[in-house]
């Protein structure tokens, strides 16, 4: 329809497609091939071998059970936190504390939670010593459940909190003046519009638990899950890539199903034309109950995180508990440890910059060009696919295809892997913001003599500042904490903190593990803090 030539946007489109062909499609196809190719030809031998094994079916059942339980628990807890913020008259400061703490776990790698749980609830754990008795056995189901819930709580919270914010609260008044009982009002005006999101939260949490490697790596114990089986097949004592590929495919299937389910659930989202807030009825019981519950949830979470601070700052946990900075110092002085921190920062920053360019380009092509609708939907499909593929699967696919190439053991491989792996969310953020911008800007600017690039630089980008910074922050933080994909492609020279933590686990160097985790935490806090400050400033300026 539009006549402008749009040479540039076509070039960008081609580059984006080529990137995903090389670093997503080809590796994943290679992985699929690996699972079918036998010595004698093509067949299902590896599948029947793996699937009939008691070990694998047990692990699959375990994975499903513990992921479902965690997803349910995380969603319930997240609902309580979000409800406390959106539907009570609790103090505003308290609400903002809840909001901040609820998403804190995102700033740490999952593998750290596992070790933190061991040091909290284990035989010599901080909380065990405080209570004088070990509350539950941490290795296996309990530990996994605990870890997964901490891991997925922030994601579930953000989903529910976000939807609750978009519910028109005036309907509560309507429901009440129509004579509904309290329960009916709650079901009709809170639960009903949230149903889709609650289900989506369950599915999303399930997917994250099912595909996470960090938590089972630390507290899995004898309770095998699919992720541990996969790791052992690929990097264990007797690696078997074919069988590993089969397990990877088996991990892919539930992921695909859950993402399709998520897509389907979108239609249950209720959209209000207008969002109005009301003054909530005075109800001290409600406020008290939710305030207390939220406080408890966050307290338990924080108590687990406390050990990350405590353990490395005492001489020798749990025997000599005098304060010392010795461990911190030795990590900072040991170049083999502090060096990986620099690596991590480099990888995270480069991922953020590269990811920014790729998502911006892709979103410009799909939201602000006159490209054919079918071509645009290819990019949307790529986003959907990257959302579907677990990090471990991408990592293994990369390992299979790039071993022996010049890319092997380079930071570029890790960076590209991260860019592809985390593409979906920032792409959608970009696309969403771009499509909200006035659709006549490009036409107007071109009538004023701009070429396309000029318009992007002078008009579009300045109006995208906050989204650009958010995308940067998303990529940075995720690249800092991810372990599942990089564990397969990080080499000796390209260690990042998370893979180093996994290595240190063999030598049971927990002080170092926690110091490195703290480095990740503080790096993320600083980056997020600075960026959100800048974002707030640009928003205020508008």
């Amino acid at each position: 329809m539009v006549k402008r030539k749009e040479r540039e946007i076509k070039d960008i489109y081609v580059i984006v497609l080529a990137l995903f062909a090389a670093f997503l499609a080809i590796p994943v196809v290679r992985l699929l091939v690996e699972s079918f190719v036998e010595e004698a030809g093509i067949g299902l031998a590896y599948y029947s071998e793996v699937l009939t094994e008691r070990g694998f079916t047990k692990a699959l059942a375990n994975s499903v059970t513990v992921s479902l339980a965690s997803a349910l628990l995380a969603t319930v807890l997240a609902f309580i936190l979000a409800y406390s913020i959106q539907y009570t008259n609790l103090n505003r400061k308290y609400k903002s504390v809840i909001r901040t703490l609820a998403v804190l776990p995102m700033l740490l790698p999952t593998i750290t939670y596992g070790f933190a749980i061991i040091y909290s609830f284990g035989k010599q754990g901080l909380l065990t010593r405080l209570f004088g008795v070990q509350l539950f056995d941490i290795y296996g189901f309990n530990g996994l459940l605990f870890g997964y819930v901490i891991y997925t709580l922030p994601i579930s919270f953000m989903l529910i909190h976000n939807t609750m914010g978009f519910i028109d609260k005036k309907f509560m008044v309507v429901s009440r003046v129509m004579g509904d009982s309290n329960i009916a009002t709650f079901l009709q005006t809170v639960m009903r519009p949230l149903l889709g999101t609650l289900a989506a939260s369950m599915v999303q949490c399930f997917f994250l638990c099912f595909t996470d490697y960090g938590i089972p790596a630390s507290v899995g114990g004898e309770y095998d899950v699919v992720a541990t089986v996969l790791y052992n097949e690929m990097l264990g004592s007797i690696p078997n890539f074919n069988r590993g590929a089969v397990v990877a495919v088996m991990m892919l299937i539930p992921s695909v199903i859950s993402i399709l389910l998520l897509h389907y659930l979108e239609r249950y989202n209720v959209r209000y034309n207008k969002i109005s807030t009301i003054e909530f009825r005075k109800n001290y019981l409600r406020d008290g109950v939710f305030g207390t519950l939220s406080g408890l949830i966050l307290l338990v979470m924080l108590s687990i995180f406390a050990v990350i601070f405590v353990v490395p700052l005492v001489q020798e946990w749990p025997y000599q508990t005098a304060f010392t900075l010795e461990h911190v110092k030795s990590v900072l002085e040991d170049n083999s440890l502090f060096g990986v921190h620099e690596n991590s920062i480099f990888v995270a920053a480069a991922t953020a910059v590269a990811g920014l360019l790729v998502t911006y380009g892709a979103a410009l092509a799909s939201a602000r060009s006159s490209l054919n609708g079918k071509l645009k939907s290819v990019i949307d499909s790529i986003a959907l696919v990257t959302n579907t593929i677990p990090g471990m699967v991408i990592g293994i696919a990369f390992m299979l295809i790039f071993t022996g190439t010049p890319l092997q053991n380079t930071f570029w491989l890790i960076i590209l892997c991260n860019v592809v792996h985390f593409f979906s969310t920032p792409y959608l953020m970009m696309k969403n913001s771009l499509s909200k911008l006035n659709s006549s800007w490009e036409t107007t600017a071109s009538l004023m003599g701009d070429n396309w690039i000029k318009t992007i630089v002078r008009i579009v980008t300045p109006n995208m500042t906050s989204t650009i910074l958010e995308v940067f922050s998303y990529y940075f933080v995720n690249a800092m904490v991810t372990v599942s994909a990089v564990i397969f492609i990080a080499g000796a020279r390209t260690m990042v903190i998370t893979t180093k933590i996994k290595e240190l686990q063999y030598y049971t160097k927990f002080n170092e593990i926690f110091v490195l985790s703290l480095l990740i935490l503080f790096t993320n806090l600083i980056v997020k803090g600075v960026l959100s400050l800048v974002i707030r400033k640009t928003e205020r300026k508008k």
Partner: protein
């Protein structure tokens, strides 16, 4: 003079415009009037060069510009939502095009546009601080700085309320007169079209229902559509206002 010959346009097999023939003289204000979905915006986009015609020719000053791209035609448009750039202040919006074509308007000319449109007190303001009428005037100034050969206005008054509407109308008329500028306006409001323009083109179902001066249209509507939908609306408005003033006069008489 702008001339459209046998213009046809369809999207996905649906005909939007069929066999449009039209001549617009230099310095005329012409309104394209019709109900929503009649094809009037498509017609505007065709003239602007944003959309390609399936068939037919567009001739401007004797030259065939059918295949000349938008930027090269030298026409300009003010969109219904103004499309002002929120990251730039009023002055920077107005002078946006000068960065690309520094010589297109002199400093004095820019000052004149600002003066004419009453924007002097607002130059340092952010776009969001402006009222609807002020935004419209900024968009007009920004476009005028580019010295368009034809000025296109897409529903220029529909987002404005009463009094401001009338003052913007005056400004549009004044600009067209002062600069002898051919101005083409798209609108769905008969009152607007008939009081603002030298000629009105009534479009219905992809074709031209009637093209003529306002007096002609009032005096001799060419078909039922013009009578039923265009004149009838004005009739109702006229009667409402008359009865309002009669009541007032009756009250004064008592």
């Amino acid at each position: 003079m702008l001339e459209l010959r046998n213009i046809k346009k369809s999207y996905d097999g649906v005909t939007i415009l069929k066999d449009i023939n039209l001549k617009i003289e230099d310095g005329e204000i012409v309104s394209i009037l019709g109900p929503s979905g009649c094809g009037k915006t498509t017609l505007l986009n065709l003239i602007l060069g944003l959309t390609d015609a399936d068939q037919g020719q567009i001739i401007f000053d004797g030259k065939d510009i059918t295949n000349v791209p938008m930027e090269k035609r030298g026409f300009n448009i003010v969109f219904q939502d103004y499309a002002l750039f929120p990251n730039l202040n009023v002055y920077k919006n107005i002078t946006y095009g000068l960065k690309n074509k520094p010589d297109i308007s002199s400093r004095e000319e820019v000052e004149d546009f600002i003066e004419l449109l009453g924007l002097k007190p607002h130059l340092e303001k952010k776009i969001e601080q402006l009222s609807g009428g002020q935004k419209q005037r900024v968009a007009l100034a920004r476009t005028m700085v580019m010295k368009p050969k034809i000025l296109l206005l897409d529903e220029p008054l529909s987002a404005l309320d009463g009094v401001i509407k009338e003052s913007i109308k005056q400004k549009i008329k004044q600009i067209a007169r002062d600069y002898h500028l051919t101005t083409i306006i798209v609108t769905h409001d008969p009152e607007e079209a008939l009081t603002l323009s030298d000629k009105v083109m009534i479009v219905n179902e992809g074709g031209i229902s009637q093209f003529g001066a306002p007096e002609e249209i009032i005096a001799s509507p060419r078909n039922n559509f013009v009578k039923e939908f265009i004149l009838n609306q004005l009739e109702i408005k006229k009667n409402n206002i008359f009865s309002l003033f009669q009541r007032e006069m009756a009250a004064q008489a008592v």
